[in-house]
C-alpha cells in the first residue's frame, strides 16, 4: 500500500474499491498470512533510517524559530510537489521530533521513530502500553498531512479523541497544520469543519456513522463523476457532506477497534413511521410468552430459543382466538410473522437478563456490550424487541427506529487507501489482521526493559471465594503501599467485587465504563500509593496510570486480573497497565473454577480434564477461535448478501 496523494474534497471522495473475494482467495490469504517477513527483519530495514533521521535532527535542532518555520515550509512544498519518499520522510520525522521537543518538551525516542515508520508503511505497530503511542502517531500523521493527505486518527472513545487532539495540537499548529477532534456532541456544521482539518482525531463509531450519513446523502451518486452530475442537477447539496474521502487512517487500539468491535455491524437508524408500533400487540405477545413453558413450548438450542410443535399449536390456537376477538389486528396475521414476534417476546422474557444484557438507567433500557461490559448508549434492539423489554421493565417505550444504513468495520476500514494501526496486543491476531484488513504486524521493542513481575495464578473453587481472595490480596498489597488495580470481566462482576470490598471495609474506587474525563481522572489517580481501583477491562483504556514516588518504591502498580477475559490479549493489555516504561509492577491472576469462561466446554467431553488453570487457558483459546470464526463468517455473509442484493444498487 503506497501512500498516494489523491484529491480530497467532499465530492471527489476517494476510497478504495475492492472486489469480493474469489473462491480460492480466502485460502490463499490464509496461507499468505503465515508467509511474511519476520518483524525483526522489517525493523532492521527501518533501523537503518534512524541515523539519517538523527542527522537531520541535529541540523534542525540548530535552527531558530524562524529558521525552523522556513525549513518547514520548504519541506512541505517538496512533500506536496513530489510526495513522500524515504529521504523526505526522514527529514519530516526529524522536523516533527524537533517541533514536539520545542512545543511539548517531548522528543520521540528511537522506538517511537520506528513505530512512526511502521505506521507510515501501512502496518500495525505493536507497541507496549505506555510507550507513547499518541506521540508516535504524530510522526506519520503530520508527515502525511504535510504531503497534503488528509489523516484520520481513530481512537476508541470520545474522551481520548478529544484529549489526543488537544494534547497534540501544539505540534500540528507549529507545523502549520490544522487539527480537529470529533466528539459525539458536535453538530453537522462543526463536524464538517473538523473533517476539513488536515489531521482529524475521531472515534471509530463517529467516523463510521458520519460516513454512513454521507452515503445516505449521496444515494446512488457515489462515484465522483456521478456526484458532480448530481450536484449540477441540484440533486445533491454538497455542503451537507462531511468527509473528504478515505485516505489514510491510523487506528489506535487496532485489535479492539478492528476485531473486537467488528463483531457487530454499525447501524444508522432513523425514526420509523408513526404506525410502525402496535403497543397492544406487544402486550398480548408478552402475556402469551409469559405463559409458555421452557422445555414444553419452546427449547433452548444453539444460543437461541426455538418453538416446539406444541408451542406452535398453542400459538396457532391463541392467535385464532385473538384474531376472532379483534378482527383488525394484523400483527397476528401470517404464521411466520407471529412466530417470529413470539420468538422475540420469548427472547425478551427468558433470554435477555437485566444487568447482564442490559441496564435500566433513568427509566431507560440500555444495552450492555457483551464484549466489553460497557453500556452502549446509542444502541437499541431492533424491531420491537427494545420496546418489549422496556415494557417488561416498566419503562416508557421508546420510539421505534428503522435502519437506514448498515456497515461492518471490516468493510469500512478496507475502503481506506492507506491504513495503519497501533496497539499493545496484536501478536495473537496478526494472521486475522492480515486476512481481514491486509495489515502486517510489526512488533516494536520497548523503550526500556520491562520490570513487570508475573506472579502466576491463584485458583479457588467458588466465585464468592474468589472475591474474598481478591479482597485479601488487594488489602495486603495496599498495606504494603502498592497501588492495586483489579480487572474484572464484566460489569456485574466488578459490582459484586465492589460489594465484597465494601463489606470488608476496604476503601476503593470502582470504574464503570463511562469513558469520560472523570474516568480518565480516576485512572490517572490509581497510581497513588495504597489506592485500590476496580475496573472492567475497557475502563480507562488509553490513559496512563502514573506512579507516585511512594508507590514506585513499594513495588509499583499491582494488577489483579480476576478471571480470564475472552481473549488472552485482553489479559495482556490489562497486565500492560502496570510496569510502564521501566517502572516496577506486578501482575497476578485470581480465578475460580466457576468462571464463566468454562461455559465454552458445555456439552464437551473434556470439561474436567487438566488443572483448572490449563482448562481456563484452553477455554480461552477456544473462545478466541470461536469469535474469530464468527467474525470471518460475518464477513463472508456480508459478501454473500451483498451479492444477492446487487439489484439494490446501494453498498450499505
Amino acid at each position: 500500500m503506497a501512500l498516494l496523494k489523491l484529491p480530497a474534497d467532499v465530492i471527489n471522495r476517494p476510497e478504495r474499491r475492492f472486489e469480493p473475494p474469489g473462491s480460492l482467495e480466502p485460502a490463499w490469504q490464509r496461507l499468505r498470512a503465515r508467509l511474511s517477513w519476520p518483524g525483526w527483519l522489517r525493523l532492521l530495514a527501518r533501523r537503518a533510517m534512524l541515523p539519517l533521521i538523527h542527522r537531520h535532527a541535529r541540523r534542525v535542532a540548530e535552527l531558530d524559530a524562524a529558521g525552523l518555520n522556513a525549513y518547514r515550509d520548504v519541506l512541505r512544498c517538496r512533500l506536496l510537489a513530489k510526495g513522500i519518499s524515504p529521504w523526505r520522510t526522514a527529514e519530516a520525522f526529524a522536523l516533527i521530533r524537533e517541533v514536539a521537543w520545542r512545543e511539548l518538551g517531548m522528543a520521540h525516542h528511537d522506538v517511537q521513530l520506528l513505530g512512526g515508520l511502521t505506521l507510515l508503511a501501512g502496518q500495525v505497530a505493536e507497541m507496549q502500553t505506555g510507550e507513547g503511542k499518541t506521540l508516535t502517531a504524530t510522526l506519520p500523521a503530520a508527515t502525511a498531512a504535510l504531503a497534503g493527505i488528509p489523516v484520520h486518527l481513530v481512537t476508541v472513545n470520545d474522551y481520548l479523541a478529544g484529549r489526543d487532539a488537544e494534547s497534540m495540537r501544539p505540534i500540528y499548529t507549529a507545523l502549520g497544520l490544522s487539527v480537529g477532534g470529533i466528539v459525539h456532541d458536535l453538530n453537522p456544521r462543526q463536524r464538517r469543519a473538523v473533517y476539513a482539518a488536515d489531521v482529524v482525531y475521531c472515534t471509530n463509531k463517529e467516523l463510521l456513522f458520519d460516513y454512513l450519513r454521507d452515503t445516505q446523502l449521496l444515494g446512488n451518486d457515489r462515484r465522483p463523476l456521478m456526484a458532480q452530475a448530481a450536484r449540477l442537477q441540484q440533486r445533491l447539496d454538497h455542503r451537507r457532506l462531511l468527509l473528504r474521502g478515505l485516505h489514510y487512517a491510523i487506528i489506535d487500539e487496532a485489535d479492539s477497534v478492528m476485531l473486537d468491535e467488528a463483531g457487530t455491524p454499525l447501524i444508522l437508524s432513523g425514526p420509523a413511521p408513526q404506525d410502525a408500533l402496535d403497543m397492544q400487540l406487544i402486550d398480548e405477545l408478552l402475556a402469551l410468552a409469559g405463559d409458555f413453558v421452557e422445555g414444553l413450548d419452546f427449547v433452548r438450542e444453539q444460543a437461541g430459543l426455538h418453538l416446539t410443535d406444541v408451542g406452535r399449536e398453542r400459538l396457532e390456537y391463541q392467535a385464532e382466538s385473538l384474531f376472532a376477538s379483534n378482527n383488525e389486528s394484523s400483527g397476528w396475521l401470517g404464521r411466520s410473522r407471529r412466530e417470529w414476534l413470539l420468538q422475540q417476546a420469548l427472547m425478551a422474557h427468558y433470554h435477555f437478563q437485566r444487568d447482564h444484557h442490559y441496564l435500566v438507567r433513568d427509566g431507560k433500557v440500555q444495552i450492555i456490550d457483551e464484549h466489553t461490559g460497557r453500556v452502549m448508549a446509542d444502541r437499541s434492539w431492533e424491531k420491537g424487541l427494545q420496546q418489549m423489554i422496556e415494557r417488561l421493565e416498566g419503562c416508557e417505550p421508546s420510539d421505534p427506529n428503522v435502519t437506514l444504513a448498515r456497515l461492518t468495520y471490516q468493510r469500512f476500514f478496507r475502503r481506506y487507501h492507506h491504513l495503519a494501526g497501533m496497539t499493545g496486543t496484536a501478536h495473537e491476531v496478526r494472521h486475522e489482521l492480515w486476512r481481514t484488513y491486509r495489515l502486517r504486524t510489526v512488533p516494536i521493542p520497548p523503550h526500556r526493559r520491562s520490570r513487570r513481575r508475573w506472579l502466576g495464578h491463584t485458583c479457588v473453587n467458588t466465585i464468592i471465594e474468589k472475591w474474598q481472595r481478591v479482597a485479601v490480596h488487594a488489602r495486603q498489597r495496599a498495606d504494603q503501599g502498592q497501588p492495586v488495580l483489579i480487572a474484572t470481566v464484566t460489569l456485574g462482576e466488578s459490582e459484586a467485587l465492589s460489594a465484597e470490598l465494601d463489606r470488608q471495609g476496604i476503601a476503593h474506587t470502582t470504574l464503570n465504563a463511562r469513558q469520560d474525563a472523570e474516568e480518565a481522572d480516576v485512572v490517572s489517580r490509581a497510581g497513588v500509593a495504597g489506592a485500590i481501583t476496580v475496573a472492567t477491562s475497557m475502563a480507562g483504556r488509553g490513559t496512563d496510570i502514573a506512579l507516585d514516588a511512594a508507590s514506585a518504591a513499594a513495588g509499583g502498580l499491582h494488577v489483579i486480573i480476576a478471571g480470564h477475559h475472552d481473549a488472552s490479549r485482553v489479559d495482556r493489555q490489562i497486565a500492560g497497565r502496570c510496569a510502564r516504561q521501566g517502572d516496577p509492577g506486578s501482575v497476578e491472576f485470581i480465578v475460580s473454577v466457576e468462571d464463566g469462561l468454562l461455559d465454552e466446554f458445555e456439552d464437551d467431553w473434556q470439561p474436567f480434564s487438566g488443572s483448572p488453570v490449563a482448562r481456563l487457558r484452553r477455554a480461552q483459546s477456544r473462545r478466541e477461535a470461536r469469535h474469530a470464526r464468527s467474525r470471518a463468517r460475518m464477513a463472508r455473509n456480508d459478501w454473500r448478501e451483498d451479492d444477492l442484493l446487487g439489484f439494490s444498487g446501494k453498498g450499505e
Binding site: 394484523s330 401470517g334 417470529w340 444477492l644
Partner: protein, 716 residues
Amino acid sequence: MTSPLFSQHWHRVAELRLRLRQHTTLHRHEYRGEPWYVLYDNITGQVHRFTPEAYQIIGRLDGQRTLHEIWEQVSHSLGDAMPTQHELVQLIGRLHSANVLAGDGEVDVDELARRQTRQRRSKWLQMLRSPLGIRIPLVDPERFVAASYPLVRPLISPIGGLLWLATVASALLLAAIHWSALTENLADRVLSVGNLLLLVLIYPLIKVIHELGHAWATKDAGGEVHEVGIMLLVFFPVPYVDASAAAACPDKSRRMLVGAAGILVEVFLASLAMFVWVMAEPGILRALTFNVMLIAGVSTLLFNGNPLLRFDAYYVMADYLEIPNLFNRANQQVSYLVKRYLLGRREVTSQAETRRESFWLVSYALASFAYRLVIMVFIAVFVATRYLFVGIILAIWSISMTLLLPLIKMLKTMIADDALEGSRGKAWSWLLITLAGLALFLFMVPAPYATNVHGVVDTAAPNQLRLGASGELRVRHADNGIEVRRGETLMELSAPELGTEVALLKAQRRETLERLTANVGDAGELAILRETLALVERQLEDAEQRVEATRVVSPRDGLLLMPEGEPPLGMYLERGAEVGAVVRPEDLRIRALLPTHRAETVRSDATSVALRLPGSDATLASHLQWVSPRSTFEIPSEILTRDGGGQVALNPQAEQPLTAFRRHYLADFSAEALVDNASMLQLGSRVHVRIEHPSEPLGYRLWRSLRRAFLRLFDV
C-alpha cells in the same frame, strides 16, 4: 427455526420500484397437483419456476409500487403464507440474477459488470470441470426451424403417432424374424475398420436429425430454439440443441414430447432402415442401413434413453414425474435428509412436498450417482487405454472432477461452512463413523477368499493302450473306468485276413523246406533257399504276433480309461490307434493353470482344495501337489482354453498351437477323491478346482487387484 421475519438489509431494498422486463412472460403450470408459475425469458430462453406465493409478489412488480408496499400488500393477502422479508429479498435476488428485473435506474453498474465476468468465468470453469463433455454453441437455427416446421407439422399429431407406431411395430416384427442374421457375429462386423468409418460418417447425420426432432417439437410446444452446437462427448462431436424454452409450455405431455422427440425420430429412422435392410442385397446399402439401425436404435436407447444420465430420457422422466430440475433437487433432497435427520438441524427446508416426491428424489439421486460413477470409470479406463498418456491425464482429471471435487467440497463444508455451525461435531462424528464402519468392513471383517480355476484330468506316467493290429472290434471285455489286471483281455478284434496270411506264410515255409530237401546237392541254390526260409519265418512270426495282438490285454494293473469313450463294436480300428490307457489311480492328477498373480497365494496359502465336476454339485476334497517353478505359455490341454470352454485365452498370433496369451503357472492337484467317487472319470476331462485361502478382509484384495489393474493397463 423460523427464518427471521425482518431482513437486516431491508433498508437497501424497501424503496426500490422494480418491474419485470418486457421480454418475459408468465405461465401457469401444474406440477404434482400444485399450481406453479413459470417465468419465461423470451430472449435467453431461460425458464424459472415460482410458487403461487411468489407469483403474488412477482405479479405486483410493476414499477409503481415499492418493495415495502408490495410486502405489506402480500402479507395481507396471503395471511398465514406470508413471505418473510428475507424470502422476498431472496426472490428478488433470484429474479435479478436471472436478468429479468428492470429498476428505475438504480441498478449497480459495477455489480452488473462483475456478474458478467463471473458468468464468463463460470462457463470456462464448466469446461474445465467436465473435459469429457464440452459444449460449443454454433448457430441460431430459429429461422430454419420456423421455415421447415409447417412441413413436419402434420406428423406431430395422433395420426403421426399411429404412423410411427405402425412403422416401428412392423420393423420390430421384421427384426424378430431376421434376428439371427442381424446379430450373427455382431462384434466383428461392428468393429471392422471399414464399418467404423461408415459409423463415423453416419453418426453425425443421424444425430442432426435427432436434434431437429427436438427443435420441431419445441416449436410445436410454442417455444423457440436459439442455440445449436456441438458437444464433445468424450472427444466425439455430437450435435445438441437448447430446447429449454419448451419448459414454459404448460402441457406436460407436450414437454415430454419435446424430450422424447429425438428418440422417437431415431427409432423411426431405425425402422425405415430395417425395411431397406431386409430388401437390399448384401453390399454397401445393406451395410449402411445396418449401421443406421445400430446407431439410431441401439445406441440411442442405451444413451439417450437412459434417465440416469442427463440426456433426453431424463427430461422426459422429469416432466413425467412433474419434478423439474430433478437432478439438482434430488441431490439437494439428499443433503436435506442428511442435515435434518443425521445432524438434527431444524432450519433446513425439504425439496419435496410429499413423502412420495421425496422418495423419488432420493432414489433418483442414489441411482444416478452410482450409474454415473460406473460410466465415468468405464469411460476413463477406455480413454486411458486408447490414448495412453493424454488419456491417463484426462482420466485422472475427470475422475478428480467427479469424485474428488465433491469430496473436497464436502471436506470444506465439514471444516469451514457456516451452515454446519453448531452441528459440526455431529457431522464429523457421522462422517468418521461411516468411514470407520467402511474401513472396518473392508480391512477388519474377514471374507472368504478362494481361487477358482479349471483343471484337466491328467496322468503322471502315461500307459497308453495302442492296438498291435488293425481290425474290427469284435468283443469288448472291459468298460471304461474299471479296474483291470495285468494280462487280462480287454477286447478282441476280428481280423480274418491275418489267419489267411498266417496260413499262406506257413505254406510258403513248407514249400521252401521241401525245395531245400530237393536241392540238397546244389550248394548255390541251397544258400538262396536258406535265406528265403529265414525271411518267410520272420514274416510268419510277425503275422502271428499280430494275430496275438487282436486280443488286447492290459499291460499292467490299473484303471482302464478311455478318453475318447468306449469304441462301439464292429468299429474298424487301425493298428497303432490309441483306444485308452491303463493308469494306476496314484498316477492320476488334475492339472490346472494358475494366473501369475495367484500362483504365490496358491502355493503358500491354500487351506483346502475342492474339486467339482461340471454338471455336478458335489465337491470332493483334494490337495495341492505341485506348482511349476516358472511360468509358461504352454497349455496342457485344449479343454482349458477359451475355445475349449475354459478360462485361458489363446494367443492368436502364436506359431505353436496351444500357446496362452498370458503367462501361467502349472499346478497339479491330487485326484484321489475323484478316483474313489467318480463313476465316470475320464482322462482329459474338465474339473473345477477351488482353492480356499485363509479368510481375508475385502479391502486388501481390492487394493491388490486395483494395483494390478493399473500396472497391467498402463504397462508400467
